[in-house]
């Protein structure tokens, strides 16, 4: 009788523990489901949390099973179990594209985890004692302790890192990616740790990884890492050559670092060229010409970039996001700050684009900025010229499959670089549920854009515009990872490149499944390059798409009074359907 009573008492004490603690992780789960944290690792954390909640309940149930069985074996009636409802009622958050963290809700989450940790730790000890006293296995108590340890291991660093992040991001919300890599992991990227000490080899390795685009989270790690660095380290890194090329750094930091590098290089090369010119004149030695010419070309390119960075009246200040003077050269300039812009449009050029011919591409980006800005009211716009890959040229490289316009090798390599660049834009943008990102691919650049879209399905852009495209590397718009009604195709009549369909289905065909936008039939001269003519139907319509105002697209006028009906093949807009 005495053993029977003791066994029942042990069960009752354990049942009281279960009643008090089975819901210890319900509050954190509710906070997660209420969008305290959306995106950037939240699903993985919620999965862990849910698993620990389930483990907690299983451990308590198993302990009660053991103690109840023990009591029954000693002659007691089966004791009643306390109710432990497993379902968790939460209000579904409203659908939203917001990805970030509300710091207040996150603080509440950490506090709830902290409380659960203390309570479960005590409960695990008491449960272990009850089970041991009744000669039962203590495994359930150990499982409870493991959950308590998971919580206790999480909360102190969480609280410390949240404080650190809030000092870095004083706004109302924290970027989702920052939370993912700084709050819930150690963010221990060895290359970044080495880079903090200005290790140039680590920087080169990071840039190489960036070019391969095999880690979509790299830019977010860079962004998080940057924001947790001491100010003195940041100031030091900005002077490191090529540092500004890292995707994920804030745009203004990239601009500052790249301009510093540009000025340093320019000063070095100016001194070199002056000195070598004097030497050449003095010695008349033809062997000195080669090195001189190479450095003089680099200097000319730096001066070209410097000229293009001059502010243009009425436009936002240009930000130098990337440059490289080697080979065909690279350049990425943004008109407007892409980190804070409500609308960001990235233009990807194609055949014959290169640093030396960047002026036209920059004009086009400014034209897009003007047009999108005109239609966007109070919303801010950033328009980026991205010459970030070796585009095919009309020279001897035509015979080289790795570089020729007849093959997609250059586009595949460029697509990886573009995907990484877009990762950077996302990582460094302030959290927003309404910001838009649009990529415009022209000519061979549309193939590059197509490859980038397939590398980053759903995240490259909200809308993709292809103009004068020879194909984008897929058979259907739906294969680009963007909803087909957000894939736009514009083709001028008489644009020979647009009719090629060399790389996959011609995007201009109905079977491709994209939406066509009229480009006007005033596009007759130099059709392949005339999509950006000021106030032309094509530019206006790109502006409307970029601004998210596709309902305003300009339609081709009736041709009843127009004599060029004699050549209807020059006016494919006539049969266009934008109502797909």
């Amino acid at each position: 009788m005495a053993d029977h009573t003791a066994a029942l008492e042990a069960f009752r004490r354990a049942a009281a523990l279960a009643a008090d603690h089975h819901a210890a992780l319900d509050t954190p789960v509710r906070l997660m489901r209420a969008s305290a944290w959306v995106g950037g690792g939240a699903p993985a954390f919620l999965a862990d949390l849910t698993a620990h909640r389930a483990s907690l309940r299983t451990a308590l149930t198993e302990a009660l099973d053991l103690l109840a069985g023990n009591a029954v074996r000693q002659g007691a009636h089966a004791p009643p179990f306390p109710p432990m409802p497993s379902a968790l009622t939460t209000m579904a958050p409203a659908p939203s594209t917001f990805r970030g963290v509300a710091p207040e809700a996150m603080t509440a989450l950490i506090t709830a985890l902290d409380r659960a940790s203390s309570a479960l730790s005590v409960a695990a000890s008491r449960l272990a004692a009850e089970l041991a006293a009744q000669a039962q296995p203590t495994t359930p108590a150990h499982r409870l302790a493991a959950t308590a340890n998971w919580c206790s291991g999480l909360t102190p660093p969480l609280r410390r890192r949240l404080g650190l992040i809030r000092r870095s991001y004083p706004g109302l919300y924290l970027p989702a990616g920052t939370v993912a890599f700084s709050l819930f992991t150690d963010a221990d990227q060895p290359l970044l740790t080495r880079l903090a000490d200005a290790d140039t080899k680590a920087l080169a390795d990071l840039l190489s990884r960036q070019a391969r685009a095999d880690d979509p989270s790299l830019a977010t790690q860079v962004n998080t890492w940057w924001h947790t660095l001491p100010a003195t380290t940041q100031a030091n890194l900005i002077t490191l050559p090529t540092f500004g090329l890292l995707n994920g750094l804030p745009a203004k930091v990239r601009d500052q670092a790249n301009r510093h590098w540009l000025q340093t290089e320019k000063a070095r090369l100016s001194a070199y060229v002056n000195q070598e010119t004097a030497k050449l004149l003095r010695h008349q030695d033809i062997r000195l010409v080669g090195a001189w010419e190479s450095e003089a070309l680099t200097l000319r390119r730096l001066e070209l970039i410097e000229r293009e960075l001059c502010p243009v009246p009425g436009h936002p200040a240009p930000l130098l996001l990337a440059f490289d003077t080697q080979g065909l050269g690279r350049l990425a300039i943004s008109w407007g700050d892409p980190d804070t812009a409500d609308i960001t449009v990235t233009s990807v050029s194609g055949l014959t684009s290169q640093l030396d011919a960047a002026h036209g591409d920059l004009e086009r980006s400014r034209a897009l900025w003007q047009q999108a800005k005109s239609y966007s009211g109070d919303r801010t716009v950033a328009s980026i010229t991205w010459l970030g890959y070796d585009a095919p040229q009309l020279d001897f490289s035509l015979l080289n499959p790795a570089k020729s316009v007849a093959f997609d090798h250059a586009a595949m390599k460029g697509g990886a670089e573009l995907a990484s660049f877009a990762d950077g834009l996302r990582a460094s943008h302030t959290p927003s549920g309404t910001a838009r990102s649009v990529v415009v691919g022209h000519s061979y650049g549309s193939l590059t854009t197509g490859h980038a879209a397939t590398l980053r399905p759903g995240t490259l852009a909200d809308d993709i515009i292809f103009v004068g495209s020879p194909g984008v590397g897929v058979e259907r718009a739906a294969d680009l990872g963007v909803r087909p009604d957000h894939v736009w195709v514009g083709e001028a009549g008489g644009d020979p490149v647009a009719d090629l369909g060399r790389f996959g289905t011609d995007p201009g065909r109905d079977s491709f499944g994209a939406r066509h936008f009229p480009v006007g039939r005033d596009v007759v001269n130099s059709a392949h390059g005339s999509y950006w003519d000021q106030d032309s139907v094509s530019l206006r319509n790109m502006g409307y798409i970029i601004a998210g105002k596709a309902d305003q697209l300009v339609q081709p006028a009736s041709l009843t009074k127009n004599p060029q009906l004699l050549m209807p093949e020059l006016a494919p807009d006539l049969s266009m359907n934008t109502e797909k």
């Binding site: 243009v312 009246p313 009425g314 436009h315 002026h359 036209g360 004009e363 086009r364 400014r366 034209a367 003007q370 800005k373 005109s374 239609y375 966007s376 009211g377 109070d378 919303r379 008489g494 009229p518 006007g520 039939r521 005033d522 007759v524 001269n525 130099s526 392949h528 390059g529 005339s530 950006w532 003519d533 000021q534 106030d535 032309s536 139907v537 206006r540 601004a547 105002k549 309902d551 305003q552 697209l553 300009v554 339609q555 081709p556 006028a557 009736s558 009074k561 127009n562 060029q564 004699l566 050549m567 020059l570």
Partner: protein, 149 residues
């Protein structure tokens, strides 16, 4: 006859005509102003023209078949002082005016959108009446590639 048709086709495709001699920057600026002022004068009630500053700096001629030294002249003006409810009426007035001037209408808005695009004749300046956020309208004219002054 076949040769004549081919010649016309080539002329149309290349945009060449005896009227397409590149204007000077000064001529282009004057013509753009004339097109804007003429169009604005045809609108009732009379709008107040507010220059959009970023349209003023000449931009580079992007026509790859022409010299990169050439420039494009563009002017954009907000049409102020017109009740929003009159936007479609304004669009119809402008269309009528452009047509009476012999200009070609190249694009129109769908439904109740006042958007309008045109091409001046015989000199091929791009004309635009554009709808913008807030139901605002602007009027624009753009020159062909012009020789710098």
């Amino acid at each position: 006859m076949r040769y004549a048709i081919a010649a016309i086709a080539i002329l149309l495709a290349s945009g060449c005509s005896t009227e397409n001699v590149a204007p000077t920057q000064r001529q282009a600026t004057a013509r753009v102003d004339q097109l804007i002022q003429g169009t604005a004068a045809a609108i009732s009630p009379s709008p107040r023209l507010e220059l959009i500053p970023y349209s003023v700096p000449p931009s580079t001629c992007l026509d790859e078949s022409q010299s990169q030294d050439k420039v494009i002249i563009n002017r954009k003006y907000w049409l102020r002082g017109i009740p929003k409810s009159q936007n479609m009426a304004v669009s119809r007035q402008i269309r009528t005016y452009w047509e009476t001037q012999g200009h070609r209408i190249t694009g129109t808005g769908r439904g109740d959108s006042p958007n309008l695009s045109g091409l001046s004749q015989p000199d091929h300046y791009i004309l635009a009446l554009a709808w913008a956020d807030g139901d605002n309208l602007y009027l624009a004219a753009t020159s062909p590639c012009a020789t710098p002054a």
